[in-house]
Symmetry: C2
Subunit: 364 residues, 2 copies
């Protein structure tokens, strides 16, 4: 067992079992005498990775047959442009729901391509920030799609419901919560997720797209930015990031081995509850500004009474093997990212540290 | 030592020393208790990789100070679009020299964005295919840049000279020959190379661009497709492919340890000569259609008298641990890719196999 619990928001901690396998196979993948990263992407060896990765993801997420699964590069940031470039019709009109930094970034990139409005945003409820209820979404007529971010990694705010939108394609950035809880894929037109938070390492992005949304863009779009390129060529139009794909495959098999998404959802709820309960029981020493209805299961964000205590918390925790707890530079404070790969024992260790730290530094 | 010599064209063989280091550091990079792929791209740990990778590449290639080094995703195929999108002025005019499959692909993508002409192409000289001499390049007035591919991986054809173009920016795809021979970077406006052939694993692309060519595109260009985005944000606008970056860094240090580019150039010439000499001494059993002046040092391509013998050659070689010798589906035959990471002993083993195979199957 490794000695460190790494709470990095992404690239983030990967499952111990996956890392051990990756290490074992590094010099000789399945008797080939080569690492998988040294093998051609069109060879028979890599073909097994391609096939099994898609099959495993389809099984885990119960992806309907009329959806394509694409493996691309560029992370969610590339999707911020690919979504409008590919999904906009001549109308070039779409609405965005914004609950944090990433939703805003996605919207700003889309604004370069068309007529974009914000349909809803996070708002205060009992002085705490909450995701807008669906009845608060103000969608315009004639939009090409509606976009939202299921979990805001930096803000620690997550939707606790899947919107029920039937008129237009629902597009969702699931980068930081994919595989963490059950999701009804059929409610969506397009789902995308960078792998480096809850599915693997950086460099590969999964796109799940309903067949009928794959079409020739109305914009002058680079070949690699067209979903149809990747759909027609089965994500092999050019050399894909093979090792990132391999790691993604190992993580999916690990999720399957441990009970699939429902099993992780139960653990994730328990892990998050332990941290939020610790915060809530701290008499204000730890403060979380997110309304209980919208608290993220993946990124638990809280602050201490002063910036100095924030810093001391981060450095003292690191000494005990609880690393990378510093909040994002945009919001400060503490961020504990507890993706699927974070064992419950890691959360228990953090809870214990939080209690001891509060006992020592809270004014009594 | 591994038992296999892997002649894959890319993703290709990586240096034994590099793979051993990657394996050793997989579960604990430099005492962090985490793999480098589990650490944030903005943290102090990864910062050392960013800094050293650029410094090592600058030192190895003697990159002048007025050039930026960018690390991006999408491989050379993304560059096929990024080059015209970023380098074209309102004139939208550029010329391409085409000596193989990749040069043609680059030109076809550029044609979507502007007025493109082929300035020169490979031609027969003594019934063998050769790269066009520079005096044969027919450049138009008022072009924004001229593009060529230094080594055509599929065709086995390589330029043995650096063009001397002073009027317009010279743009070059060096994906399959970067670090294999000395190159005067100051002759170029822009150089790009996917890492997965001679610099590392798939997923990361190096762009070396002269400062004055970094400007706001005239096209509606996705944020990640703008060189200025990566220049301003030091290749950290979004999450980069961190592990590919790390592997690239290990390869660069390995090249430095073993004498730098001049040392590899000497070995590469010797390795290629051994194979071409074996072909030329086979009385036509092995045939190479590339003129001696343009024979690639990196991808040695040849054919046997029949397709059946090609296939038999590939399968018999694999039994002896000489793997992935099958030619690209576009041209058939045999392709021996002998990048920097291929030890001379691997080439010697292939020469021995070629001689034995010819002795057995050549009609006597």
């Amino acid at each position: 067992m490794r000695k460190v619990y790494n709470f990095s928001a992404g690239p983030g901690m990967l499952p111990e079992e996956v890392m051990v396998t990756a290490k074992e196979e590094m010099l000789d993948w399945h008797g080939t005498g080569s690492s998988i990263m040294e093998l051609g992407h069109r060879g028979l060896d890599f073909a097994t990775i391609i096939k099994e990765t898609e099959a495993d993801l389809r099984e885990l997420m119960n992806i309907p047959r009329n959806y394509k699964v694409l493996f691309v590069t560029g992370g969610a940031t590339a999707q911020f442009a690919m979504v409008p470039m590919n999904l906009m019709s001549d109308k070039k009109r779409a609405d965005y729901v914004v609950t944090g930094v990433w939703g805003k970034k996605a919207m700003e990139e889309a604004m370069r391509f068309g007529d974009i409005e914000m349909a809803a945003q996070s708002a205060h409820r009992n002085h705490l920030l909450a995701a807008p209820l669906q009845e608060e979404w103000d969608l315009r007529d004639g939009i090409d799609y509606i976009h939202y971010v299921a979990n805001e990694t930096i803000d620690g705010l997550e939707f606790n419901f899947v919107p029920n939108i039937t008129e237009v394609p629902l597009v969702c950035d699931m980068s930081s919560m994919i595989l963490s809880r059950p999701v009804d894929v059929s409610k969506y037109g397009l789902i995308y997720a960078g792998a480096q938070k809850n599915m693997g390492q950086a460099g590969i992005t999964v796109v799940i797209i309903r067949d009928d949304l794959i079409k020739t863009p109305v914009f002058l779009t680079p070949t690699l930015y067209q979903y149809q390129t990747h759909a027609v060529h089965h994500s092999l139009y050019n050399t894909p990031p093979t090792y990132s794909w391999y790691m993604l495959g190992l993580v999916l098999k690990w999720v399957k081995r441990h009970g699939g998404i429902p099993a992780f959802y139960e653990i994730n709820k328990r892990k998050a509850k332990k941290l939020y309960d610790t915060i809530d029981a701290s008499h204000g020493f730890y403060e979380c500004r997110i309304h209980p209805s919208s608290r993220s299961l993946m990124n638990v964000i809280f602050g201490l009474p002063t910036d100095e205590l924030d810093d001391l918390f981060v450095s003292e925790a690191a000494k005990q093997g609880l690393t990378n707890l510093k909040g994002h530079r945009a919001v400060g404070g503490i961020r504990a990212s507890i993706y699927n790969a974070m064992p419950e024992a890691g959360v228990d260790a953090l809870v214990k540290f939080m209690q001891e730290f509060a006992a020592k530094y809270a004014k009594g």
